[in-house]
């Protein structure tokens, strides 16, 4: 089976070299090192020359022999596809277990939404403290309106932002809470924090409304 040493005509040699170059390029593209690509192309070259020698059976191989031999081989692109075989786990190492499922992350939007709820307790405390002063600016019996003092005007001016800020905050919490619920729902298990998102979207505005109603009833 061992073929005799043979001289390849230049046109055959160049055809073989072109195939080997293409194989080496494919290997390099797929991440093989120079040495590794070299050793693989050496094996391919040995095979081509063995096949040529067998086909030519003693005569000098012709271009058509080279074409026929190369047609039997894998195309150079196949070496690029074989990259995973080279990149396989080191031999001797136990088979690697499948990667554990990624731990779901906490939904940041739900946390961000909660920030809007922070002014609400401050509002409640201040409303309870300042409420009695505001309540004093009431029409007196008989239809006449008591003139508000400078202190009353000052308090009333403070009450407007006191209501506006938590109102905007609760609105922020509600909207972002709804966004968080949608995000968690669409993430299909990759995001957690649904409880907080529901609190943001539903409980916080309801709580705020209850507090406001209670305060209004009280005053």
């Amino acid at each position: 089976m061992t073929p005799d040493r043979m001289e390849l005509p230049p046109e055959v040699r160049s055809k073989v070299d072109a195939h080997l170059d293409a194989v080496e390029q494919a290997l390099r593209r797929s991440g093989a090192g120079r040495e590794e690509a070299r050793s693989i192309t050496d094996d391919v070259e040995t095979q081509i020359l063995d096949m040529l020698a067998t086909r030519a059976a003693g005569r000098t191989p012709k271009v058509k022999d080279a074409s026929a031999v190369l047609a039997q081989l894998d195309p150079p692109e196949a070496y690029a596809q074989g990259a995973e075989a080279r990149a396989g786990a080191p031999a001797g190492a136990p088979p690697s277990p499948p990667p554990p499922p990624a731990k779901p992350k906490f939904c940041r939007t739900a946390i961000l939404a909660l920030l809007g709820f922070v002014p609400v307790p401050v509002f409640v405390v201040l409303a309870i403290t300042l409420g009695p002063f505001v309540a004093r600016v009431q029409p007196v019996p008989g239809g006449a309106q008591a003139a508000p003092s400078v202190f009353h005007i000052f308090i009333c001016c403070d009450v407007i932002p006191l209501i506006a800020i938590p109102l905007i905050g609760v609105l922020w919490t509600t909207i972002l809470g709804i966004v968080a619920i949608i995000q968690i729902h669409r993430a299909k298990g990759q995001l957690r924090g649904m409880g907080l998102a529901i609190f943001d979207a539903v409980v916080s505005p309801a709580l705020f409304l209850i507090v406001v109603l209670l305060l209004l009833t009280r005053t």
Binding site: R5, S39, I40, D42, A78
Partner: protein, 110 residues
Amino acid sequence: MGGWETQVRKGLVELCVMAALQSGEAYGYEILRRLAQAEPLAITESTVYPVLARLAKDGLLAVRVAPSPAGPPRRYYRLTAEGRRHFAEMQAYWKELDASVNRLVFGDRP
């Protein structure tokens, strides 16, 4: 069916290459010819040569370069001691796997 067969073959290449070398050293094309005996595997050179290079890199195969009458020097591969140990482990695992899969696929039929 084609995709499934390819995956199965891919997983068996390393085992088959080492099995082809247990009878003695061989160069790339010779290994291919030995593997050709297992026709359904249809393992070709673009799969075998990269695996040979990797196994040599991992120290499971030793490489001897010898002059060839046909052209460039041939690279002869043989199993190292570590390679033989690894192959024995693979054989044992394959035996177990083969029996279990056969039981599953064909039931209790012998």
